[in-house]
């Protein structure tokens, strides 16, 4: 039955995760971790999240996860988005979804268990200098030489590569029969031939250019042990990660609205709270409407995905809409806060940065509208 409310269990998930994040992740911490001398990651936070079981919410119990649904994970993302949890959470979960979609039992046992236990940070290396969304243009290739794979190429915008234990690298591959396709490789950061350079980003999150120079990998490092078969699993995991990111964005946007409501209710001019002016109220009503719409679209997408449906249109709709909503909410928040929100002391810019960063990742509005147009 159509029901947009949380179940009791989901409500509990939301309440506990909100409490936890509000206690553990202050704007001060977020700012600190973003400073160049920090790694962008908090090991103590990571350990606490692992202990509660949140790094394995969606990971099956047999791999030491909590065996929850994608919706449960979505709730966690929404709450994490409110407080701007460091992005190692998102990149590692994305990798876990890919491992879950493609990996063999052995690989899942190894890597998913490690992720659930907080023993592995990861990210997915996908985009390249001249190929952001179209793998046909990838130049990173893997060649089979005897029983080894030799990986060569360069990936960009790789989230948290500097901290990753293993990265998942998507490359074009050619197997023994000369068949070409996409393959996902698990590449240890310490492997010989891996080098990286951090990029300087608007969102102050950590992304790197990662170079692979004749990196030798054995079959255990091929996700699923099969080559040229990663497309489908990749599409599934990418859709899941996109929908989850929409919930992260919704969480951030809702937090900005909450903070803005508080600000305009307390800030007095002309002897009254500025939040009593209709011009201000209407802006906020529009912001709330855009975010409620995003939230419904995002939960619809996550919910359908968790049932195993493809939900291509639903994911595209969610990302196209949420990207615009989160960003616009922060732009308007700056307008409503005036100078008070412009000074970094107010912390508002932290969300504004993240809004733009998330808008630009996993496809902008145009990309998703184009997908929708193709399905009209």
């Amino acid at each position: 039955m159509m029901n947009m409310e949380y179940s009791d269990d989901q409500l509990m998930m939301q309440e506990t995760s909100r409490k936890f994040f509000e206690r553990e992740v202050s704007p001060q911490l977020v700012k600190e971790l973003q400073e160049p001398e920090h790694s962008g990651h908090s090991s103590s936070l990571w350990e606490k999240m692992a202990n509660i079981g949140w790094l394995g919410v969606h990971i099956p119990e047999k791999y030491n996860g909590a065996g929850g649904t994608l919706v449960d994970l979505g709730i966690l993302f929404e709450e994490a988005g409110r407080v701007l949890v460091p992005t190692t959470l998102y990149s590692t979960i994305y990798a876990s979804l890919l491992i879950d979609a493609l990996g063999t039992h052995e690989q899942k046992k190894t890597y998913l268990s490690r992720i659930a236990a907080g023993k592995m940070i990861s990210g997915v290396a996908y985009a390249e200098k001249e190929a952001l969304h179209n793998p046909d243009c990838f130049k990173t290739v893997a060649r089979k030489v005897k029983d080894k794979w030799i990986l060569t190429g360069e990936k960009m915008f790789v989230q948290n590569a500097h901290l990753a234990d293993e990265l998942i690298v998507i490359a074009r591959s050619e197997n023994d029969d000369g068949k070409e396709g996409l393959t996902a490789f698990l590449v240890p950061n310490q492997a010989e031939g891996v080098s990286m350079k951090e990029q300087k980003t608007f969102g102050k999150d950590r992304q790197s250019v990662v170079k692979f120079t004749d990196v030798e990998l054995d079959i255990t490092h091929v996700l699923g042990n099969r080559t040229e078969e990663a497309e489908e699993g990749l599409a599934v995991a990418m859709n899941q990660a996109t929908a989850l990111q929409c919930l992260e964005m919704v969480g951030g946007a809702r937090k900005v609205i909450d903070m803005t409501v508080k600000y305009v209710s307390e800030r007095h001019q002309f002897g009254v709270p500025i939040g009593s002016f209709q011009a201000v109220q209407h802006h906020l009503a529009n912001m709330a409407t855009a975010v409620d719409g995003s939230r419904l679209l995002a939960y619809q997408a996550v919910s359908l995905l968790s049932e195993g449906l493809a939900a291509e249109d639903e994911v595209a709709m969610a990302k196209a809409y949420a990207g615009e909503a989160y960003k616009s909410v922060t732009v308007m928040a700056h307008q409503l806060w005036g100078g008070m929100g412009y000074v970094t002391e107010s912390d508002l810019y932290l969300w504004s940065n993240r809004a733009k960063a998330t808008e630009l990742s996993f496809g902008t509005r145009d990309l998703h509208l184009k997908k929708l147009a193709n399905n009209l």
Binding site: M1, M2, N3, M4, E5, Y6, S7, Q10, V71, I257, V261, V264, S265, V272, P273, G275, S276, F277, Q278, V280, Q281, H282, L284, A285, N286, A288, T289, D292, G293, L296, L297, Y299, Q300, S303, L304, E314, M317, A320, Y321, D366, L369, K370, L372, A373, L376
Partner: protein, 391 residues
């Protein structure tokens, strides 16, 4: 959380659609169009009779009042289908504004007297709310009712009285205590249109639908026509308005317009190119598709919240603003896609989509300001939804 209609709801949707397919005939639509400014004709009366015989006027009423006790979701599905199929308008005023007010505030005598004829579609109502000087500030209304023995004597003027010319009764807001603060001196009563002293004058609209001015000159109605308590009408009136918003916010018609527009673009070549292949059109259609999905989800959210027994005031307002503004966007952009053809109205044989888009473009403002203007709705979202201070 779940985002599917149940099997039963899907079956219900199909049942309504099948029924409407059967009863909507070209003759019926032609008659409705012909009589737009006058009384309903025999085909339209028969159409409504068929709906009433199915019990659908009172589908959402409790069983104790003879209703089918169907859910708000079922009711929304019904309204969406009616709009989607372009069925002749089915007034919701009696069954969804007057009747729920009677359930909640009416005396036993009120209920006995008024509910059966509403259920059987014998009585049709018009909303006697707005006045020349009381629109958005409805509580300032001046039409008065004074008790004289066993009768109320009513004097004043109402405007934007849509359906007044084809209704049997007015659901009238009157001032019964001029000395009380403005919200505390209003009462609700039912006034038969054939009572001596009632005069009705047509007001034409840009949207092409008829509305009316209505004058009350010493109109006398029995004391028992007052609904609920005297001077407590404001509560009744505002309770009913929330419901009206959910209906105003239905996006069924806009969804249909969009689908027809996509179909048109897939089959129409202009300047050597299929419209659907034009990149600018594709992107705009995709954008509208996303917003239609949001409107649909807002509707389902409001209905499911009602079914869960939750307060929906700010969600209903959000839904209403979103859906009504989308109506303008779809018809506005649709007309642009049609380019020069966009200006052909329904009377022209070559009008694409039977001129539906230009009609919706003219009808859209009514939806944006009717049922509480979108500015007031935004205040409600801000104040009741977000808790912002009032002035």
């Amino acid at each position: 959380m779940e985002f599917h209609l149940t099997k039963e709801q899907l079956a219900w949707k199909q049942e309504v659609r099948n029924f409407l397919k059967e009863v909507i005939t070209p003759e019926l639509l032609a008659e409705v169009e012909r009589n737009k400014r006058g009384k309903d004709g025999p085909l339209e009366r028969n159409y409504r009779k068929q709906i009433s015989e199915k019990g659908w006027y009172s589908m959402h009423w409790p069983k104790e009042y003879g209703g089918l006790e169907m859910s708000a979701m079922d009711y929304l599905i019904f309204n969406e289908e009616v709009a989607y199929m372009g069925a002749p308008f089915i007034s919701n005023i009696g069954p969804s504004i007057v009747a729920p007010s009677l359930f909640k505030f009416g005396s036993e005598e009120n209920k006995r007297k008024w509910l059966p004829p509403i259920k059987n579609n014998e009585f049709d109502f018009a909303l006697g709310y707005s006045e020349p000087n009381s629109g958005t500030d409805l509580a300032s209304l001046q039409t008065s009712a004074v008790l004289d023995g066993d009768e109320w004597v009513i004097n004043g003027q109402k405007v934007w009285n849509s359906f007044g010319h084809r209704s049997t009764h007015q659901w009238l807001a009157v001032r019964t205590d001029p000395s009380a603060p403005k919200h505390r001196g209003i009462s609700m009563m039912i006034v038969p249109m054939d009572a001596p002293g009632v005069t009705i004058v047509e007001q034409k609209t840009w949207g092409g639908h008829r509305t009316n001015e209505i004058f009350f000159d010493n109109v006398r109605v029995p004391k028992a026509n007052l609904i609920g308590e005297v001077n407590r009408g404001w509560l009744i009136l505002t309770t009913a308005l929330d419901h009206e918003r959910v209906v105003m916010g239905s996006s069924g018609r806009t969804q249909r317009n969009f689908e027809d527009l996509v179909k048109f673009c897939k089959h129409t070549v202009i300047d050597g190119e299929l419209l659907i292949n034009k990149p600018e059109i594709r992107m705009k259609l995709a954008e509208l598709k996303v917003e239609l999905e949001v409107a649909r989800l807002f509707g389902y959210r409001a209905a499911s919240m009602i079914d869960l027994g939750k307060d929906i005031s700010s969600e209903a307002s959000m839904m209403k603003v979103f859906a009504t503004e989308l109506r303008t966007k779809v018809s506005d952009y649709g007309m642009q896609i049609l380019d020069l053809y966009g200006q052909l109205n329904k009377d022209d044989d070559l009008a694409p989509l039977q001129g539906e888009l230009e009609q919706q473009y003219r009808l859209a403002p009514f939806h944006r300001f009717g049922g509480g203007t979108n500015e007031v709705q935004r205040n409600i979202v801000a104040q009741r939804g977000l808790g912002l201070p009032r002035r």
